[in-house]
Amino acid sequence: MAQKRIVLDPVTRIEGHAKISIYLDENGNVEEAQFHVTEVRGFEKFCEGRLYTEMPGITQRICGICPVSHLLASARAGDDIMGITIPEAARLLRYMMNSAQIVQSHALSFFHLSSPDFLLGFDSDPAKRNIFGVIEKFPDLARRGIRLRKFGQEVIEMLGGRKIHPAWAVPGGVREPLSEDKKQIILDWIPEVKETTKMGIEFFKSYIDKNKDVVENFGNFPSYFLGLVNEDGSYNHHDGFIRVIDSNGNIVLDKVDPRKYYEYIGESTSDHSYLKFPYLKSFGYPGGMYRVGPLARLNIAKSMGTPLADKELKEFKSFSPNGVVLSSFMYHYARLIEILHCIEKIEEIVQNPIIYKGKYRVYGGVNKEMGVGVSEAPRGTLFHHYWVDENGILTKVNLIIATGQNNLGMNKTVDQIAKAYIKNGDIKEGMLNRIEAGIRCYDPCLSCSTHAIGQMPIKVEIIDKSGNIVKTIVRD
């Protein structure tokens, strides 16, 4: 009897390893490298049959680092199903919570996860290349970074009653306004966190001055950039319109109501990853690949809308002749500028009396059979799309998450690094560290959901022309 071989690969759950396949040509040079996301989570399926009002509470459990993003996108999808416009106080409060969320998540990404690479060097002792190593060598910066994250977390808690998974935003607005006694606590904290962010920025700028090669090799490639902006093109991380630009800075889509995203964005699947690959319909797949997240948001924005961040945005844009920064390494810089905007916004919003006194929640029923909620998560634009029956029971759910949209970008980044570090079948030292840092530029959920401290567990398979695995490098 003929033998049949069934290969299950990638195996689900890969024990938290980022799996990467590198394909070599006849001469042992890299033909293609792929980054796999092998986790499949059934959220879209098991939400069917539930009520749309439950979705903020359910979907925020998708992530422990950015629950707020899902909470807000989901509440917005609920607003849409109800066919209502939320009160201004609720809009501001939601913007404030999203700002706090971006601060805490970016602070974690920059100070806890990525700064060890810059401060201590990519090839420094891995046992020390973590936040503890940073604390040892740069105690002040490390302490400040940790406090910056704490600031974001505490603002979230002041608004939502808890730091993680606050079920605070609801279809129709928010459950509670900010209590007035919190105002001064927040204002007193602002100068310190601004200073910390500026220190981070100075530090990062001096790093890239000295390490031009890193900027060159880390996912430096053209792509479209997608994100939300206000109607006038200024930065908005929560309730703006979709704008897409190409790598030359030409606006290819603008003022698109995010609730109509599906007219412009398609989703493709691939054999090597469980993530869906979204692309711009008008450019097809894979030509219409785009990047989202901090880099994209800054590339598409004309201004930041707050003074300190605006000043920094000008410098950021000056890194490229046409104002569009292509290197994925600059995600880090973009993150810091976003933190600055968010701090300034929080400062502005807490001083607006409407958030303490205004109406913050409205009620309504099911008025539409479909609703879309969009918000900028720290890692990129997040889409929640729900279909409901006349009683609000979900019949279909589609979620497009940031990491999915950056999937193509991450693949390209890994590909570029692999090409720079593998020549004629010879793998140069330090490749793993560079790949790790390359992936970390995008701050995919994976990097935090696995091991925040220490190294990212990676499995790299190198495959020759005839499909044989010639080498497997595993780092746990």
Binding site: G49, R50, L51, T53, E54, P56, G57, I58, R61, H165, A167, V170, P171, G172, R175, Y363, G365, N391, G392, I393
Partner: protein, 238 residues
């Protein structure tokens, strides 16, 4: 004689004729877990969480539905009872789909409290993961079958207090469901007065206000007390 003396967990207690073991235990600060019982509604002894041992009786008896008798010796907390009660709570969890994290009554749920009370750190039985329906056809309330523990409080309050008898049980065994007459959508039921009493007495997140989101629903049962007091004071008797 209108006074009865008995022993509950070695405490000498007295009670009035006609009182239940549960009532006297409560008066003497002996905690007995309950789920189906609710003051103001006829006891049905459906959940079996209040089971106690009575000396001389071969079977365990439900404290909520057993009247006290002179000289009774009651034990509420033996190893056997503790074991049974934990098992009952575990079975309730494994039968429904109780996802506390996103439930509307998270933090204010009697089933959740029972889990803590009986020390349920995990469920030893396989979850059934049955597929249940949510009925959100009513303009004000929602019925989520996946959380229902079949305590029948809703049925009793609607029948005995509101007098509408919208709800009843249908099906057998594991397929028992609380349902409206002819199992029509709640929103189409002509008897429902939209009073919300069933929602307030439901111990879990099976019945809730339509706009409630996770952890937001806090039930208020004070109306039952007011009605009881009114009945006692005969304020509705002409």
């Amino acid at each position: 004689m209108s006074v009865v003396t008995l022993k509950i967990d070695d405490i000498e207690c007295t009670g009035k004729v006609g009182q239940t073991i549960l009532e006297v235990a409560k008066e003497n600060n002996v905690q007995i877990p309950v789920l189906c019982d609710l003051k103001g509604l006829t006891p049905v002894a459906a959940c079996r969480l209040c089971l106690v041992e009575v000396e001389g009786l071969p079977k365990l008896v439900p404290a909520c539905a057993t009247k006290i008798q002179e000289g009774m010796v009651v034990k509420t907390n033996t190893e056997k009872l503790k074991n049974y009660k934990r098992m009952i709570v575990e079975l309730l969890f494994s039968e429904g789909n109780h996802i506390c994290a996103s439930c509307v009554v998270n933090g204010h749920c009697e089933l959740q409290d029972l889990g803590y009370m009986v020390g349920m750190d995990h469920v030893r039985f396989d979850y059934l993961w049955q597929s249940f329906k949510i009925d959100s056809s009513h303009p004000k309330f929602v019925m989520d079958q996946s959380k229902c523990v079949k305590c029948t409080r809703c049925i009793r309050v609607c029948d005995e207090v509101e007098g509408a008898h919208v709800w009843d049980l249908r099906g057998r065994g594991i397929n028992v469901r609380v349902s409206t007459g002819f199992d029509e959508p709640w929103g189409q039921n002509k008897d429902c007065t939209q009073c919300g009493k069933c929602v307030q007495v439901c111990p879990v997140g099976a019945l809730f206000d339509k706009n409630a989101t996770s952890s937001e629903m806090i039930k208020d049962r004070s109306f039952l007390q007011r009605i009881l007091e009114g009945r006692e004071a005969k304020i509705w008797v002409r």
